[in-house]
């Protein structure tokens, strides 16, 4: 009994720090949940990035409060984070800029694997987009590696036929969601947008990758008018979220 009391007495000074740490974890999850449920104007990647950013911000604030509760100056935490950040930025300037460009090109660049593009003096079919470069297969079957940063800095022309029409939306669903029911519901709801879409190209859902935890899909649509692109993206993302909410209730 006395040993337990001694352990408790030793633990009591750290109790506020533990409570703050637990509250930080809960708050980080809650903020991430809220951000995930905000009405989406962007793509699922933007939503994921928003959630990650909110967790990092809450984590840093929570971490500084934990340090304060432990009697350690939080300045040391900020200093470490700043130094790590600066060192990383200097050391990995080139790769990071390519990596960042890849992230932005995922969201904003109007091309995908399979398209034919032209950037600076190079052109070819996009056969791979990795973290650093975009690989093109030129007409004379040469592999051309284009740094992703070029895709942000330079003019990129997508010369694929009807490229302006195509809207490819990445969709990631949890492994326990009934994919046939999801697809069926999605096709049903997207048929309501048919007056805005090219009737010759019904929506197509393609499986890109699978794991027991999730299935990555691409939804491909063809729009009728280029000026509708943004509004259709928003509407489709809204409907995607609604369908996901519905089928979450009907787990496999």
């Amino acid at each position: 009994m006395s040993a337990l009391t001694a352990v408790w007495a030793a633990f009591v000074p750290y109790l506020p720090a533990v409570v703050i740490a637990l509250l930080t974890l809960f708050f980080a999850w809650f903020v991430s949940f809220l951000v995930g449920r905000l009405p989406k104007r962007g793509t699922p990647q933007m939503s994921r990035a928003g959630r990650t950013l909110s967790v990092v911000v809450v984590g840093v604030i929570g971490g500084s409060l934990v340090l304060q509760a432990l009697g350690v100056s939080p300045d040391i935490l900020f200093l470490i984070v700043a130094l790590l950040g600066a060192t990383t930025l200097v050391a990995l300037r080139e790769p990071l800029s390519n990596f960042g460009s890849k992230y932005f090109s995922d969201i904003y660049m109007p091309f995908k694997v399979g398209d034919t593009i032209q950037v600076q003096a190079f052109s070819g079919k996009v056969i791979e987009i990795n973290a650093m470069t975009t690989i093109l297969l030129s007409e004379n079957e040469q592999l051309v590696s284009v740094p992703n940063v070029w895709m942000i800095r330079d003019v990129v022309i997508n010369t694929s036929p009807q490229a302006w029409k195509e809207l490819s939306i990445p969709v990631s669903i949890s492994g326990n969601i009934d994919l046939p029911a999801f697809e069926s519901d999605l096709l049903k709801t997207l048929s309501k947008l048919r007056t805005r879409l090219d009737p010759r190209f019904p929506p197509v859902l393609t499986t890109k990758a699978r794991s027991p935890q999730s299935t990555d899909l691409t939804l491909t649509l063809m729009i009728r008018r280029p000026e509708d692109r943004d509004s259709i993206t928003v509407e489709v993302n809204k409907r995607l979220t609604e369908v996901l909410e519905r089928v979450r209730g009907v787990r496999r």
Binding site: P180, E183, S184, L187, K188, S191, R194, P199, F201, P202
Partner: protein
């Protein structure tokens, strides 16, 4: 299809055909099942799994060395799936020119059609995780999306069994059909004409013509007693001259052409009778997708018979067991394939295997290998009276040299469309697609 009491069975061993279950008398199953059986026997395949829509069967069933996996979906979704299947089938066969179903792929029914295909694709994917298959072989138009849905890098082969004429495919269908076709390494159709037409969609995979086939061993000569008993049961007298049509009750099968031809010939040939074997397909029967067209078509034909005062001259047998069908082939004077459009027309081959001549519509795929007057007789369904004229040639051939020649040459041609020929062609194709 298993009967109610045997739905929990996981093997057909010990069950009796016609009592405990019915084996599909035609279509894709008739053709593909013997091939798989043969390829397993010859060790071209070490293992085979067959995934099929069958809401009435057990979930899995061992069948002749393969495992059959039956897919079942809710009745409400089945309706939409069936509607889209029929609409595609109808368009390809140009059944209703007034409704081209341009917007079919945007309908609610299409979402149910996609549902069925995705359920099947997911089952195939799951089985692949367990068995690590070498190749996926998808059969028939209504399952075209499965290759795309299964995805992955493994080779996929698709066989389109019905006619293919790109000119009748609506503009609004082409992109999606091409997307689906592009997921296959090899696309097989039944005639060279269909390959030429398929080229218009420029699919990425290799296009092949492989003739459909039957297993000659499945066709035996019945004993005279059984033939006589069946004829007595059906009201066929010894002196009757029988023209035989084997095909489901469906407008596309053109039984109405044959009844019209019989009406022209009835007075001149008072012993001529028309025997129609078959009922509904899986889609068209109450036990399948429940589309009611087979019942409607039979009623229409019966009305035609009555109007033409042909009572007793046209016999509707419904579904027959293979042994009984053999009896009718044995008894008939000749067989008819009068379809408005026909992917191939294996009934002609069955007739040849029974040593009987056959009159075939020019709209059937098999017409590509028939030489009129040499190994069969051809007629144009759009020329009124032409079928009756061709029937007259065989009815007037009293001493039988024409019938004998057609039957003999037909039997020779049947080798080209036999299981032996298919074993080589399909085996070579599968080896090539797996090894290349």
């Amino acid at each position: 299809m298993l009967d109610e009491a045997n739905r929990s069975s996981d093997s057909l061993e010990g069950l009796r055909e016609g009592i405990d279950y019915r084996f599909s008398p035609g279509g894709v199953t008739r053709m593909v099942y013997p091939l798989i059986r043969r390829l397993l026997k010859k060790k071209v395949l070490s293992e085979a799994h067959w995934v099929a829509l069958n809401p009435h069967g057990p979930r899995t069933l061992r069948l002749g060395g393969m495992t059959l996996h039956n897919v079942s979906i809710d009745e409400s979704r089945m309706e939409g799936y069936g509607a889209v299947k029929e609409a595609i089938w109808g368009r390809i066969h140009e059944i209703d020119a007034t409704d081209t179903h341009d917007d079919l792929f945007w309908t609610e029914a299409f979402s149910e059609y996609a549902y069925y295909n995705r359920v099947t694709a997911e089952l195939i994917r799951k089985l692949d995780e367990e068995h690590d298959f070498d190749v996926f072989y998808i059969h028939d138009f209504q399952q075209l999306p499965i290759g795309h849905m299964v995805g992955g890098l493994k080779p996929k082969v698709f066989r389109w069994h019905i006619p293919f004429d790109a000119s009748v495919i609506p503009e609004q269908w082409r992109a999606l059909l091409t997307t689906y076709l592009d997921s296959y390494d090899v696309v097989i159709v039944s005639t060279r004409k269909y390959v030429d037409s398929l080229t218009a969609l420029q699919p990425k995979g290799t296009l092949l013509t492989l003739y459909p086939y039957v297993d000659p061993d499945d066709y035996s000569r019945p004993d005279a007693t059984r033939v006589a008993a069946l004829c007595s049961q059906l009201g066929i007298a010894p002196k009757d001259e029988i023209a035989l049509i084997v095909g489901r009750m469906d407008p596309i099968k053109g039984q109405d052409f044959a009844i019209a031809a019989l009406a022209r010939l009835a007075k001149k040939y008072p012993r001529l009778k028309l025997v129609l074997v078959g009922n509904g397909s899986f889609s068209g029967s109450a036990g399948g997708l429940g589309m009611s067209k087979s019942g409607k078509w039979r009623t229409h034909l019966e009305l035609m018979v009555k109007t033409a005062k042909l009572d007793g001259r046209v016999i509707f047998t419904g579904h027959l067991l293979q042994d009984d069908l053999d009896c009718l082939y044995e008894r008939c004077r000749f067989a008819l394939v009068p379809s408005v459009k026909e992917g191939f027309g294996l009934v002609a081959v069955e007739s040849w295997l029974h040593g009987k001549p056959v009159i075939v519509t020019k709209a059937a795929g098999i017409a590509e290998i028939i030489r009129d007057g040499v190994n069969g007789l051809l007629f144009d369904p759009e020329v009124p009276g032409e079928l009756a004229r061709k029937m007259t040639l065989l009815l007037n051939d009293r001493s039988g040299p024409l019938r004998a020649r057609l039957a003999k040459n037909g039997r020779t041609l049947a080798k080209k469309v036999s299981l032996d020929a298919a074993e080589k062609a399909e085996g070579d194709m599968l080896r090539k697609v797996v090894e290349s």
